[in-house]
């Protein structure tokens, strides 16, 4: 077990998946239960433009989306959204993406002393092997609680079993990637969304037991019952994605400074 780290701040077992709600807590939260934490859209050190081959393909039970995870880079994210984070009643977890440990280290350094940041979530790129994955995680570990976000299939990777001893606070299992005909003879590659993912999410959650870490699961939750099934199966929290794009009646989200 590594050095003592802060506890993961979480007000309820309902969070959003990174990328499902942009860079700041929404004015309304279209879900019948209180928001447990707000997770930012993935943020990189440098700005990222939308992918040239961006697109969406719908199929029975879901859809696939490729965006390139565009974002204006950490500095602009902070200058534009920090004030709103400070007014958020729900703790704000900043999701960091990088392909080099050094980028994570530099971003973590800037975030560690900001009182409006409650935790770091580190996205493990889908192509990462053990080496890169562990270096990215290690670079994030400081005083802030750290959540490691990885696609379902990676829970079986041997390195995932080492995260608890490194001092990681929790896992966040994220939806798998897939490919779909792009209608022009090629394939679109991207993350999957939709209720059809629930059986895979439940399965991944069970397999994640070997990591002995608390597990947050995203993907496939489009009703309270779906989410409750994941909680009953042992999830610490449930991450909501495209269901939050509905025009649910919505709760106004209170803006209260936690400090």
């Amino acid at each position: 077990m590594a050095e003592a780290r802060q506890d993961l701040p979480l007000l309820s077992p309902w969070v959003n998946a990174a990328g499902a709600l942009g860079f700041r807590p929404p004015r309304s939260w279209p879900w019948p239960e209180r928001m447990g934490a707000f997770i930012t859209h993935p943020v990189s050190l440098a700005p990222r433009s939308p992918a040239k081959e961006r697109g969406l393909a719908a199929y029975a039970g879901g859809f696939l989306m490729h965006t390139g995870l565009p974002n204006p880079g950490l500095s602009r994210v902070l200058s534009e959204h920090r004030a709103r984070w400070a007014r958020s009643a729900a703790p704000v977890w900043v999701h960091l993406m990088a392909s080099e440990a050094d980028e994570i280290r530099r971003m973590a350094d800037r975030l560690e002393n900001l009182p409006e940041v409650g935790a770091l979530e580190i996205g493990i790129p889908p192509w990462a092997g053990a080496d890169l994955a562990l270096r990215l995680v290690d670079a994030a570990l400081g005083e802030l609680p750290v959540v490691v976000s990885l696609p379902y299939v990676q829970v079986e990777a041997p390195w995932a079993a080492r995260l608890r001893d490194l001092g990681v606070n929790a896992l966040h299992l994220s939806a798998p990637y897939g490919s779909y005909p792009d209608g022009r003879g090629g394939l679109l590659h991207g993350r999957l969304y939709g209720p059809h993912l629930l059986p895979l999410a439940l399965e991944a959650l069970q397999r994640a037991q070997v990591t002995r870490l608390p597990v947050i699961v995203s993907g496939g939750v489009f009703s309270l019952e779906h989410g409750q099934a994941l909680l009953a199966a042992g999830a610490l929290a449930v991450g909501l994605d495209a269901v939050l794009w509905r025009a649910g009646p919505g709760e106004a989200v209170p803006e209260t400074n936690l400090d």
Partner: protein, 229 residues
């Protein structure tokens, strides 16, 4: 932008994947021509909200078009976010208005047509498939004559998929260097989150940087667009 509940009153077939839809919305929530709504059935398993565009905006007669899921039926309730995005901005002084839809239903141009006729403009629609309910005063011309429109029209309202903007430029008879300051284009892209996620799948490359079709569009000035190729 507001959230409301409305019941489906009528469904009709428009074009291969496009259906027509009538719902009753509170008055203040009606979209303008080229704006859109995002609609979903509450408590359903539908993974995505559906983007709906106005095809008729007369008081008491709001008609929308969109690619409706097969399971939607008359009597179903919809949760709706509306109005969203920026629509067509028909100049009040325009007296010659041209319209064309590339690879999409012409029905989305009807509200612009009605507004143009109302301000006394001559209206030309370049299409091989005129929409149901097209006013008689509209001159219907073959799409292949669209290249004549930039010289004639004081305002052009167009629609095209993002990946087909080059084809639209060719149909307009323009070179990569030529502008067309009178034209606006409704750029068809997926708009799954309507900006809620900043997902960026709807991003459109403009001379002023990346713009989101869901918030900055879906209608853009033609001359702002970076048309690749």
């Amino acid at each position: 932008m507001a959230v409301t509940l409305a019941q489906i009153v009528e469904i009709s077939q428009e074009a291969p994947i496009w259906q027509g839809l009538r719902v009753r919305l509170p008055n203040g929530l009606h979209p303008a021509p080229g704006q859109y709504l995002l609609a979903n059935r509450p408590h359903s398993d539908d993974p995505l909200p559906v983007a709906l565009y106005p095809a008729r905006l007369r008081p008491g007669d709001l008609r929308l078009v969109g690619p409706l899921p097969a399971a939607w039926a008359v009597g179903d309730w919809l949760e709706i976010r509306s109005p969203l995005g920026r629509g067509f901005r028909l100049p009040p002084q325009a007296r010659r208005v041209a319209l064309a839809a590339l690879d999409g239903p012409t029905a989305r141009l009807l509200p612009v047509i009605e507004a143009a006729l109302a301000q006394g403009a001559d209206v030309a629609l370049y299409t091989s498939a005129p929409p149901a309910g097209l006013p008689l005063a509209v001159e219907v011309l073959p799409f292949s004559l669209l290249h004549e429109a930039p010289a004639w029209a004081q305002y052009l309202a167009l629609t095209a998929p993002r990946a087909r903007l080059t084809a639209l430029r060719e149909a307009l008879g323009l070179t990569a260097e030529q502008g067309c300051p009178a034209a606006e284009v409704l750029v068809d892209t997926p708009i799954p989150c309507g900006g809620a996620a900043a997902c960026g799948v709807c991003a459109v490359h403009t001379h002023h940087g990346w713009k989101l079709a869901c918030e900055d569009g879906p209608v853009f000035p033609w001359d702002d667009l970076e048309v690749e190729g």
